[in-house]
């Protein structure tokens, strides 16, 4: 269960609106069911009271929306979960929005549930999901109410949460947590330990599902180019749908590469993928390699830090050594 409640957030939002600190609030808007929450701007107490929600399905990272929202007049209130604050900082590092126009309220997070995991368990007749302590009560069309262990139905990125600590905020609700020693690289290490043939088969299977909807790119807080290379007819690689499996690989390698060193591992790409491709495993590979080759680096941990790919030392590893070193530290024994 989330330690902060909708009522607490609502109260805070109304308070700041009334005081004139902000003139808009970025929050979560109620949907048809409990799990289909939409990010939205609220500009009055009435709107907030009517449609504002905060539940276990508020996974969307608001940081990227700030680019658009700070172009407007006045300050906007934004609620940031710990992982969102890293993206927030990273965008500030890249001078992508005006910090002065944002009032950031940090909120603790106990992980967000994944509706697909729930549907996989109880079937597709889900009409609502409520949280009751460490249980989820799932209302279904055909099996009545089903009680599930909340912890087992958290999104992958939440099960291996890297940090409960807020790295940016104007105000914090509740207690701040710590950076967590997480198991988020375990899956990467498992893949590294496979033979090249197995790895190739694994990725071939995963990437072949791609429908090139570009959701992973469009949701990514690190992908903020005005014109993406894959959306530019003059780039020579612009393609809307995949004609050949090569194009799937090229798109996903380049997408991950373009955010390497800047990706905070917020996990939005995997959350939004309609085909459930584990895109975070590509991003985490880059993060794991960067940590191993050039020293620990967490994008977004502090504003203004230099991303590893626009930095160097004279004694850096040679590419050949770097690739070989993966075997040694690898996952071979892991």
């Amino acid at each position: 269960m989330q330690t902060v409640t909708r009522d607490l957030l609502l109260q805070k939002a109304c308070e700041l609106l009334d005081a004139g600190t902000v003139n808009r609030v970025y929050g979560w808007q109620k949907g048809q069911f409990d799990y289909d929450v939409t990010p939205a701007v609220f500009s009055s107490r009435e709107e907030l009271e009517k449609d504002f929600v905060y539940n276990d399905f508020c996974g969307a990272n608001f940081s990227k929306y700030l680019i658009k929202e700070t172009a407007g007049e006045g300050k906007i209130l934004v609620f940031l979960k710990p992982c969102d604050t890293y993206s927030f900082n990273q965008l500030l590092t890249e001078h992508r929005f005006d910090r002065e126009k944002v009032y950031a309220v940090g909120i603790p997070c106990d992980g967000m549930a994944d509706i697909r995991l729930i549907e996989e368990e109880v079937g597709e007749g889900v009409t609502g999901v409520e949280t009751d302590g460490d249980k989820l009560i799932v209302h279904t069309l055909y099996d009545g109410d089903v009680k599930l262990n909340r912890a087992d139905y958290l999104a992958e990125r939440c099960r291996v949460c890297k940090s409960k600590k807020h790295v940016a905020y104007d105000e914090l609700l509740g207690e701040d947590g710590d950076v967590v020693d997480s198991a988020r690289f375990d899956e990467v290490a498992k893949l590294e330990a496979m033979t090249p043939d197995e790895r190739f088969a694994f990725w071939q299977n995963e990437l072949s599902r791609c429908i090139r909807c570009n959701a992973c790119r469009d949701v990514c807080p690190a992908c903020t180019c005005e014109k993406c290379v894959f959306g530019n007819p003059k780039s020579g690689v612009e393609n809307k749908a995949v004609s050949d499996s090569f194009e799937e690989k090229m798109f996903h390698i380049i997408r991950a590469f373009h955010v390497a060193g800047r990706c905070t591992d917020c996990g939005e790409c995997s959350r939004v993928c309609p085909q459930h491709i584990p895109l975070h495993l590509l991003n985490r590979k880059f993060i794991k390699d960067i940590d191993a080759f050039y020293g620990e680096y967490q994008a977004g941990a502090e504003v203004g830090s230099r991303a590893p790919l626009v930095d160097y030392t004279e004694g850096d590893m040679e590419p050949g050594e770097a690739v070989a070193s993966v075997d040694e530290r690898g996952g071979k024994d892991a």
Binding site: T38, I115, E120, V126, A241, V272, P274, Q275
Partner: protein, 353 residues
């Protein structure tokens, strides 16, 4: 009406597969498989082989429109030799194939596509595939929470198609609706037996009862339709609705009725392949022309998608909506903005909560 015991379903499918290539919905990975990603990606259509387990999911993640209007399709190739330009026609006659287990909503989507591709001038690529496809539809025993096909006058208890199927605990009932369907049922006569024409009525009744209770059962399409452009086009609500939209193509690409495509050339170094691929009105380079794009901002692109489904298409196609209520966009949209929310917001009192 014919019936076949569920225990013999494999034999029934085998008999169908003998007449033509048979495609069935399957799961990405079996239930015990540790490949959780393939499993969560949902069902998809695959060629049936002896013993193939059918998916228990209500529907496939991608719609079966792929069979008639694939994501990419080569149209022709060009080759230059010296100053001579040769053009090769890549079209070929397709073989017959059977799509098994198509849901009522998706069957209707073929009608929506037909209106576009088979009206003059006929799209020969589509027409060729369509002529060779046999649709075996299946009533929805357990419609999902996101289903709203009834809103558009589709009956999930009694679908359209060449052959219609119903399933209860013991039998699968089949009836043919077209000549193609008759042919198929005759070909599988050995594994099916005759039964009363009302044998599936109990199933239909259950399904109807369930459809009544769906959370979106009250959603009405009455406010929309042809001639309503002026009513909705300048509605200020579009700004609010499109606010969080990422501009990705998820809704378009999982949609069974979206039919826009782009035509592109690919130079292989030896020849040029001219192909078409799905396009989305959500993309900023959609219908890009020499002078630029006619929908320069995101709200306009967002509006286009829903106006097309709810107003423009019905206007040009005798009132038929180009949404079939399959619910794919409801469950797949990254930010959970979808046609139901749009209809509720714009549909006025009729859809007010």
């Amino acid at each position: 009406m014919r019936k076949c015991a569920l225990a013999n379903k494999n034999a029934l499918l085998a008999a169908m597969a003998k007449t033509a290539k048979l495609y069935v919905p399957v799961d990405g990975a079996d239930e015990k498989s540790r490949d959780v990603n393939s499993r969560l990606a949902g069902a998809y259509y695959a060629e049936w082989k002896d013993g193939t387990q059918l998916s228990k999911k209500l529907n496939t993640t991608r719609s079966p429109k792929d069979f008639f209007f694939p994501q990419t399709e080569n149209m022709m190739t060009f080759k230059m030799t010296g100053k001579k330009l040769e053009i090769f026609d890549t079209r070929r006659e397709h073989e017959d194939f059977i799509l098994f287990g198509v849901r009522a909503c998706d069957v209707r989507s073929f009608t929506v596509l037909d209106n576009v591709f088979l009206s003059d001038p006929v799209d020969s690529y589509y027409a060729n595939r369509r002529a060779h496809g046999i649709i075996v539809s299946m009533a929805c025993n357990k419609p999902a929470g996101t289903c709203f096909c009834r809103t558009f006058g589709i009956d999930a208890a009694d679908p359209e198609g060449d052959v219609i199927c119903w399933e209860d605990d013991a039998y699968i009932y089949l009836t043919a609706k077209t000549e193609k369907g008759e042919g198929l049922l005759n070909a599988v006569a050995d594994v099916t037996e005759d039964c009363a024409d009302d044998a599936a009525d109990a199933v239909k009744a259950t399904v109807n009862e369930r459809l009544d209770k769906l959370p979106l059962a009250d959603l009405k399409s009455d406010a929309f339709g042809g001639g309503k452009t002026d009513t909705f086009f300048n509605d200020p609500a579009w700004n609010e609705l499109s606010e969080a939209c990422l501009g990705c193509g998820t809704c378009t690409f999982v949609c069974p009725t979206c039919q826009c495509y782009d035509i592109k050339d690919f130079n292989t170094g030896r020849e040029v392949i001219r192909f078409r691929c799905w396009d989305s009105c959500m993309y900023s380079d959609f219908t890009m022309m020499a002078h630029g794009t006619n929908r320069p901002n995101h709200m306009q692109r967002f509006r286009q998608r829903f106006m097309h489904k709810l107003v423009y298409y019905p206007e040009n196609n005798g009132g038929l909506f180009s949404c079939v209520g399959c619910g794919r966009c409801l469950s797949r949209c990254p930010i959970s903005m979808n046609i139901v929310k749009v209809m509720k917001k714009l549909g006025g009192n009729e859809n007010a909560e």
